[in-house]
Symmetry: C2
Subunit: 708 residues, 2 copies
């Protein structure tokens, strides 16, 4: 680590009112940050990229429930600048080495003394720490240990992100309890969530979620999000549709306050990633770098992995999570053996064995099983506290037999803990549930938070739940369990700190193609610029039967070609990737399934070859520890020609490229399943000409040809 | 059980609007109950005692959050009457046998069909069940299993208790989070909590708590409370100070709704105990009878007991709960061994041994130790979630050594779990905490709920916390642990169902004499008519040093004589009684302490010899399994002569009576410690003349003289 420290302690004018001070700056490469304290004592910041305005002067500050927050005038006590340049290795990820290079500006502020107050009067202190990277800025509020400020409650955060123009924005409504929306692309002036989120009681008409992706008319790509969301509510943004100012909206607790804190403490980092090239946004490691290194010393048990599961058949209505068709069950006192089985239950011993067999045959390490445990008869949307106990299988799910069978096949069964958002109930039973898992050979759990949170009045994205997700990451790690959280708050890079936290859902997944009007073809070209900025998603790609999968809604379809489903394994990075379709659907296309079987989930290198949010994305990645490369290219509803120079390949090495391409007549609407697989010998000087069908894609594997 | 059933199914007028029906009645001895459905379809009830009106016609009903509750017109589907007369034995209590004798009227109601609706339209059904006892009435709402009503949220309960006059009332303010108030005695027209509870944000000016004790001008004693508070918020009462109507106020959840329920379900019983004799109120077993029998089959491990404790010395400021004087501690990451001890910590190994020695010498089974575990440095009033872990002792508390030492002396150490009302934190750690207890020889725990509840927005007396208390009773029972809950909701007779739940505080205890202006001399004559109607209180009597105990507030004093402190062991029934003062204070009055050493905490019989709320109370009880009797007599600030005919003694047997009397000059204000102890041989024909000093009392033990 290179490091130097510059301290400038300004003369303190204790008895005076606030005074304007000279702006403070920090800079790295093309990015420049300015902090200013105005004549009124109000702090603000601004950001430029190559001299172009990214954030115009914007307010900083917080108000407290006790009325003595940092929303009034402040005085500057001093500041420091330091430079850091270090490289670290993630436990798993898109690249082997991550450079963490920034200039840090720390600003020390305090509340001013009232006129006539003496020097020894106790005042409250606040630090604001900025880190300027080559691809953006992160900053946070820090509350140092101090006698005048111990316990406090944040009423509002007043951070603003003022934009110089009416940018194009990719946004979803500001629902405190769900991120499962399709993105709207509009000018900031046109943001209006009302038609989309009318049923969401908490949504305000111009409140949107982060990561918010923006593009300026002069070609700047800007992403606003946060890093390291711990012990704080999620940050939402209120859009001023006339002035293009974004103001902070923290998700409230049941009391209406936003965060209950104890100094020393700090907020999460507010992040602004910026570039004039779209691929740079996807290559940014700014958010990861702002997270703390993991404290885990033994990480060998953490295994990025693919899985199949008893899941899609429920999504498409062919099977059910519930065992019986009863609709009024109380967890305590129900004799589950006496319920009349509906005959539609998915998680039966026999059916799970079928998936285990398929996984074993195709080298898929795990089988997720949902609906294995009692309570699904009336589990959702009743704000009911005692729904699941997480340790009692249905009568037709033989946990011991499946443990034995899976082990004999070299496959793991993946646990499922749907909490129905009754989090108090889950927390009471959580450690017992993990003991049950370990006793039965499970080492990974998918958690779910469908419905309204209990404690009632709390939200999925509030401080109390933020702490729950982190606690769950810690509790699972303590038992060497990997975790995949669904309906959790969207990620903020915490997988650096908790590498057993493999993925979240926390966005509109592939499943929406099963039970709704579906995801538009552009959806997967936007997600990497929005939701995936914070971390991996369990998107559940790999649907091969793209039409007619839901017997009761035959017109329903997936809005991609089959090949685009393959490409998603590369374009949507995750260490946890489901092969979501049914074994019988894969068995009809085993040649195409070969790509899913081959594609890794952990990488030494990643290159974004072409990208434009809402339009297209081409990504190539190098397998962990091998000279193998995997390429995914996707497009929206437009067909595209995509020339791909293969100069990422090792010079002088010949590779066999297996090209999974949309068929000539392929089209997501008319002919989604048409594909062709060709093999070609290539090297670093070759160029591939990829043709992407409307709603289509391409997937390519490159393996070196052994020298003879 | 005598039993007969009368079903009268009235002709159903499905297509008609609501119609008035003939009133339905139930009756036992002097108490009569009438249910009526008015011409407007509104249900009401009324109660009389010997023909005198107790409750004038009063509204019944509930509204739901979904707007389809039972607050509109209803139709009568039918009704049933049955009689029950049975006797049962409590695991511990005031009497050996309890008679449960009542006539039950069940009324079946439904929402009416709208005009033109068809017979097969689904409507919602409600039962109201009344039980009429010789000393009052209990009734509750029952929601039968039905397809039209499964999950629902109660918005308000509309039960009213309309009184025919401007009765005298003994009341405390309607604070959703505390019962620790002095009682005000006033006419209903004068109820005004503002001067008392101005600091209580939730208090409304005429909202009071139950048990509400009333006395009419014509000499009727009436107590309004509830029985079996499970899965529902506590019942408060809004007083209409002009019409003397009491309306129900349920304690809200964080959302504002009152109760989240799933049919089949029922509310707690609403209780009205009535008599023209004050002692009958205290002898009533109506509330216990309305609770469910215990499901515990093995209750041998449940031991009513006395205890001393490292506690009063903290209350009076001589020692501290906290180990260090630091004021900003985080549970995680603090190295407790490195904190600088203040030197004032009470729960040291050596100090606990001193209490163990005293307990062993005086046959006191247990020693409570508060402040033994880390976290007390800044535990209260910060709405902080991670305060205590319940398993980490302070460095100067040697849990293993004390386990060994206590066992060698035949004494138990009693566990203390102050939660600081961070109940989510406690629930996460609760089972670990009980495992820790069992591993270290503890079989009883005192829990505490000081401060604001987490989940934030919930209240001590709301549904969520009601469930927590019951869950805690169940969890402790599962580990054969007895429990004493402080700052919990006031009891409703659940100790019948959970006999390991020995006591609650849940009222203004003796401790208020340590740290406030204290309890007025009348306080302990009111508590049995109010708080104790629901169950035993851990009042912590037995203070012998009545003045000058708090070094920093020398004028502070206990508002009783020493002898009244003795009498409280009899007048305030509890299976768990602390001898609350310091060993060194007892050692100065070991002759008086002999009564505390002798007095049992479990009884075969109890007689209330004289009682008037706010004035005086004389109670005599027969020890469990022995022909020994113990008498307590207390008065308010008035001196009294109390002749006591001893006709409760076994005829023909001679007893040695040891009479602990106020000294001739005794007076709680001027000379509280003066007492005289005399011995006398008496029999059933004798009469004792007791003289009670102002704020004083008398205590007497009667042991048979062995025949020679």
């Amino acid at each position: 680590m290179r490091y130097f420290l510059l301290t400038l302690l300004l003369p303190l004018s204790y008895q005076s009112n606030a005074q304007a001070v000279a702006p403070l700056t920090a800079q790295l490469d093309n990015v420049s940050l300015t902090f200013a304290l105005g004549a009124d004592g109000r702090p603000s910041y601004a950001v430029t990229y190559r001299g172009r305005s990214v954030i115009t002067p914007s307010r900083l500050g917080l108000s407290f429930v006790d009325g003595r927050g940092f929303d009034g005038p402040l005085q500057l006590l001093g500041s420091e600048v330091k430079n850091v340049d270090e490289t670290w290795q993630p436990v798993w990820g898109e690249v082997k080495d991550i450079r963490n290079h920034y200039q840090q500006l720390t600003v020390h502020l305090r509340q001013p003394l009232a006129p006539g107050q003496k020097l020894d009067v106790v005042y409250r202190k606040l630090d604001i720490v900025f880190r300027v990277f080559a691809d953006g800025v992160g900053f946070r509020y820090e509350f140092p240990a101090q006698s005048a400020l111990t316990y406090f409650a944040v009423q509002d955060e007043h951070t603003e992100f003022n934009l110089p123009g009416n940018h194009k924005a990719f946004w979803i409504p500001g629902d405190y309890d769900s991120n499962e929306y399709a993105y709207t692309t509009s000018r900031l002036s046109e943001v209006n969530t009302t038609p989309i989120a009318a049923i969401q009681e908490k949504a305000a008409p111009t409140r949107v979620q982060t990561p918010l992706m923006l593009k300026s008319d002069d070609g700047l790509y800007i992403n606003i999000h946060e890093a390291a969301l711990v012990n704080y509510p999620a940050l939402f943004l209120n859009v001023d549709t006339r002035n293009f100012h974004l103001s902070s909206q923290l998700v409230p607790a049941a009391t209406g306050a936003k965060a209950y804190l104890q100094a020393p403490e700090h907020t999460p980092w507010r992040t602004i990633v910026v570039s004039d090239k779209a691929p740079d946004m996807l290559a940014s490691k700014l958010i990861l770098n702002l997270n703390e290194p993991t404290k885990l010393t033994d990480t060998g048990w953490i295994q990025p992995q693919k899985f199949v599961g008893v899941w899609w058949e429920m999504q498409v209505g062919k099977a059910s999570w519930n065992y019986a068709d009863t609709t009024n069950i109380k967890l305590a006192g129900t004799n589950w053996n006496k319920l009349r089985p509906s005959g539609r239950h998915g998680a039966t011993t026999a059916n799970v064995k079928r998936y285990i067999d398929f996984a074993a045959k195709h080298h898929i390490p795990s089988v997720l099983v949902e609906g294995w445990n009692v309570g699904w008869e009336d589990w959702a949307n009743n704000w009911k506290e005692e729904v699941f106990d997480f340790v009692t299988p249905y009568p037709d799910f033989d946990v011991d037999e499946l443990q034995r069978y899976a082990a004999s096949k070299g496959v793991r069964v993946m646990m499922h803990h749907e909490t129905s958002s009754s989090v108090t109930n889950y927390e009471r039973r959580q450690e017992d549930a993990y003991r049950f898992m370990k006793a039965h050979g499970y080492n990974a759990v998918k958690t779910g938070y469908v419905g309204r949170i209990i404690p009632r009045g709390e939200h999925h994205d509030g401080q109390w739940m933020s702490n729950h997700y982190v606690r769950t990451a810690e509790l699972t790690a303590a038992s060497q369990i990997m975790v995949d959280m669904h309906e959790a708050v969207r990620p903020t890079g915490l997988h650096r700190t908790y590498p057993n936290w493999l993925a979240c859902e926390s966005a509109r997944g592939n499943e929406f193609n099963a039970f709704s009007e579906g995801n538009r073809p552009e959806h997967e070209t936007i997600l990497p610029f929005t939701r995936l900025m914070g971390g991996p998603m369990d998107y559940t790609p790999g649907i091969f039967k793209l039409q007619g999968y839901n017997p009761s809604v035959p017109e329903r379809r997936v809005h991609t070609t089959l090949v685009k489903q393959l490409a998603l394994y590369v374009t949507m990075y995750s260490p946890l990737q489901m092969a979501a379709d049914l074994p019988e659907n894969y068995e009809k296309h085993l040649d195409a399934f070969q790509f899913i079987e081959d594609v890794p989930v952990d990488w030494d290198d990643t290159r974004i070859l072409a990208a434009e949010p809402g339009d297209y994305l081409t990504t190539v990645r190098k397998a962990k520890g091998k000279d193998e490369w995997y390429l995914g290219a996707i497009t929206d509803e437009q067909a595209r020609q995509q020339p791909v120079p293969l100069n990422f390949l090792t010079p002088g090495v010949r590779y066999e490229a297996i090209i999974y391409a949309d068929g000539k007549q392929a089209d997501w609407q008319r002919n989604p399943t048409a594909y062709q697989i060709t093999k070609k010998v290539v090297d670093a000087k070759s160029t591939l000409q990829l043709r992407l069908a409307p709603g289509g894609g391409a997937a390519v594997s490159f393996k070196p040809i052994a020298a003879r």
